[in-house]
């Protein structure tokens, strides 16, 4: 990681600096925006549409950041959505129980629940991965099912409703900017800075690149993994609160397609699934690109169900395309490097 080896203090803008992946994503975002604006100038480039896209993408964005963290360590977190739904269910239960007596207190309580449940779920994942030694994909596959199971036992599969006082977190806006999107941007900036500027972030990249080298350079791999999965759980819980506020209901099977979707966003955003490389700016840009694509398709094709199917196909095709482009550019780089070496 070139960004890690710097001696000089970084400027505040260095987190947004450009590299091949980021430039490619910028081009994709700009192209999608231009195409759909030309196709539907009446509806696409409007403030209302931008707002609605921002409302829709926040919770998926936060979940994608959670997955990105696990991926940087060389792992994965499939339990994000179950953690989010379990948090939403417990928060909704608290809200409905106190809706007549102390609604404001209950809103505060809902946030406290998220602060406890998210890290608790994450710590369990971290324990299984770091201490027991189960491969992350299996450990979180198990907890994905387990957390969902706990939610099912609590709710008996039914939806639990929230209260109007809680809606602001999912539906409110400040100066026209949706609150969930503001939360997402703040979280993305915090996580981004944590990864590029703190000792912890440095350790995550090193662990993801080579766990053995990380251990021999004195890094406590277990503790890094624990902290990563705990953070991932906390972010998931936050996403759960936002979806509870936005839809005014909590269900254990809400958003099941999010798990694979968030992995896709991370890979599109340049996070290496093997760990050690990738930046949060990329994840944010990939999220924006996918949201533009799906909203744009809805508007161009008019029918929303048909557009959903087309969108699914387009996502898959885009992912494969990006993989191939990254592969070709990596091979090309390798070849030119070899050429330089043989000439020098």
């Amino acid at each position: 990681m070139a960004t890690l080896a710097q001696d000089k203090p970084k400027s505040w803008l260095s987190d947004l600096s450009l590299d091949g992946t980021i430039i490619r994503l910028f081009i994709i975002v700009a192209a999608l925006f231009a195409i759909f604006s030309l196709a539907r100038p009446d509806a696409f480039p409007t403030v209302r549409n931008l707002q609605s896209m921002a409302f829709q993408s926040a919770e998926i964005g936060i979940l994608a950041l959670a997955v990105a963290l696990a991926m940087l360590t060389g792992g994965i977190d499939l339990s994000i959505n179950s953690t989010a739904n379990l948090t939403a269910v417990l928060a909704a239960l608290l809200l409905t129980n106190f809706k007549d007596t102390a609604p404001e207190l209950a809103v505060v309580g809902a946030f406290l629940i998220a602060l406890v449940i998210g890290p608790l779920c994450g710590a369990f994942n971290g324990f299984l991965v770091a201490h027991v030694g189960i491969p992350p994909i299996l450990a979180t596959l198990g907890t994905m099912t387990l957390f969902k199971g706990i939610g099912t036992v609590i709710t008996k599969g039914a939806a639990i409703f929230a209260i109007p006082q809680f809606a602001f977190i999912g539906n409110g806006d400040i100066l026209g900017i949706p609150i969930p999107f503001i939360i997402f941007l703040v979280v993305a900036a915090l996580v981004g800075m944590m990864m590029s500027r703190t000792r912890y972030g440095f350790e995550v990249y090193l662990l993801g690149t080579n766990p053995l080298a990380a251990r021999f350079s004195g890094i406590n791999n277990r503790s890094v993994l624990m902290r990563t999965y705990i953070t991932s759980g906390l972010l998931s819980a936050l996403a759960g609160l936002i979806s509870l506020g936005r839809t005014n209901a909590a269900r254990v099977d809400f958003g099941e397609s999010y798990v694979l979707l968030t992995i896709m966003i991370c890979v599109l955003g340049g996070i290496n699934p093997a760990g050690g490389a990738g930046r949060m700016v990329g994840v944010v840009l990939a999220l924006v690109a996918l949201q533009l694509l799906s909203t744009g398709m809805n508007m161009v094709l008019f029918t929303s169900s048909g557009a959903n199917f087309f969108k699914e196909a387009a996502w898959g095709a885009t992912l494969l395309l990006v993989l191939v482009v990254e592969l070709i550019s990596a091979r090309w780089k390798q070849r030119s490097r070899r050429k330089l070496k043989s000439e020098g």
Binding site: I137, T145, L146, G149, G316, L323
Partner: protein, 333 residues
């Protein structure tokens, strides 16, 4: 004669003993568990997951992972049934199965291009093709459910065909569906393939240590091409069988089962990092998960607990091999 300690180091033995203990326990609580009808019901519930699991087993042994097989299955199944409905394909069971298998093979080869030829990571590639195949199916082919009884007499006949019919002492009969034989035949084929062919050895070899396998002279590219094409073919056949069992071709079905199948295979002792896994273990893993999730009601436990129990099972099932490995290291040291 292997010692008891060595036997307990094998995941198959542990899973097998768990199944026996669990069966006795459920049977004691509710004697109707051992009725022929109930046993047949559980066996029927293992057919689809079991057939998929055979493909997933091969992929896991080779050190890869495939989440696209349900999309391949539903694609092959729905296209085949649609063609029968439109009259393009004559309503002949053998022809239908050949077509579904070929469609599956084609989509499997599409996966193989990215995985074997371009050497891209298997999870991410199949994640992309899962989405691509299903999206193309729903957008270009159709999104309406088709009732099998209305379009295909031959598939309807298959849906009613039984392998075994046993008369109950209390009157009535218990039937075991014919498709259970498909699972058994498939399991035998995969077992022979893995155990007695060079191809099977090369699958274990590249999963165990890719670099070493390459140096010894195994052709990794060709082996991977075979693996993903074979999984596609299996998925096509399983998809059509699913439509016969459920008596409808629903383009929204099957997808979503992928993680459950992987969990069953892993529970059966296959290693997600490759190189390890057996047919027997996989069948036992499928049986244990089916048994757990279909017998809660017999125990008087609300079916709300099903997910919870399966999740617990996966965590325990994946912890055991890790602990065994540690124990082995300690014994060796």
């Amino acid at each position: 004669m292997p010692s008891i300690r060595n036997l307990l180091m094998r995941q198959e033995v542990i899973i097998g003993l768990t199944i026996v203990a669990l069966s006795i326990f459920i049977g004691l609580v509710n004697p109707s568990f051992f009725s022929t009808a109930n046993v047949f019901r559980i066996l029927r519930a293992t057919i689809i997951v079991g057939m998929f699991a055979m493909g997933v087993l091969i992929v896991l042994i080779s050190g890869g992972i495939d989440v696209s097989f349900p999309a391949i299955a539903v694609f092959a199944m729905y296209v085949t049934v649609s063609l029968i409905r439109s009259g393009t394909l004559p309503d002949n069971l053998i022809l239908s199965y050949i077509l579904a298998a070929l469609i599956g093979l084609g989509l499997g080869l599409f996966n193989a291009i990215f995985i074997a030829w371009l050497r891209l990571p298997t999870l991410i590639v199949t994640l992309g093709t899962l989405s691509l195949f299903r999206g193309v199916l729903l957008f270009f082919v159709g999104s309406q459910r088709i009732r099998i009884a209305e379009v295909s007499p031959s598939l309807t006949e298959l849906s009613r065909a039984n392998l075994l019919t046993v008369e109950n002492p209390g009157g009535g009969v218990a039937n075991l569906h014919l498709a259970f034989a498909f699972l058994i035949v498939l399991a035998v084929i995969v077992w022979l393939l893995l155990r007695y062919t060079m191809l099977g050895r090369s699958i274990y070899a590249i999963g165990g240590d890719r670099e070493a396998a390459e140096r010894v002279g195994f052709n990794i590219r060709r082996t991977q091409f075979f693996i993903y094409a074979f999984v596609g073919l299996l998925a096509g056949i399983t998809g059509l069988t699913f439509s016969a069992l459920s008596r409808e071709a629903d383009p929204f079905s099957i997808v979503g089962i992928e993680l459950d199948v992987i969990a069953a295979v892993v529970l059966g002792g296959a290693s997600i990092t490759g190189g390890r896994g057996t047919v027997i273990g996989t069948l036992l893993g499928v049986l244990l998960i089916t048994l757990m999730s279909s017998s809660l009601v017999l125990l008087g436990i609300s079916s709300d607990w099903q997910r919870f129990v399966v999740g617990l099972l996966i965590i325990i099932g994946t912890t055991i091999p890790v602990l065994q490995a540690r124990l082995r290291r300690r014994v060796a040291a």
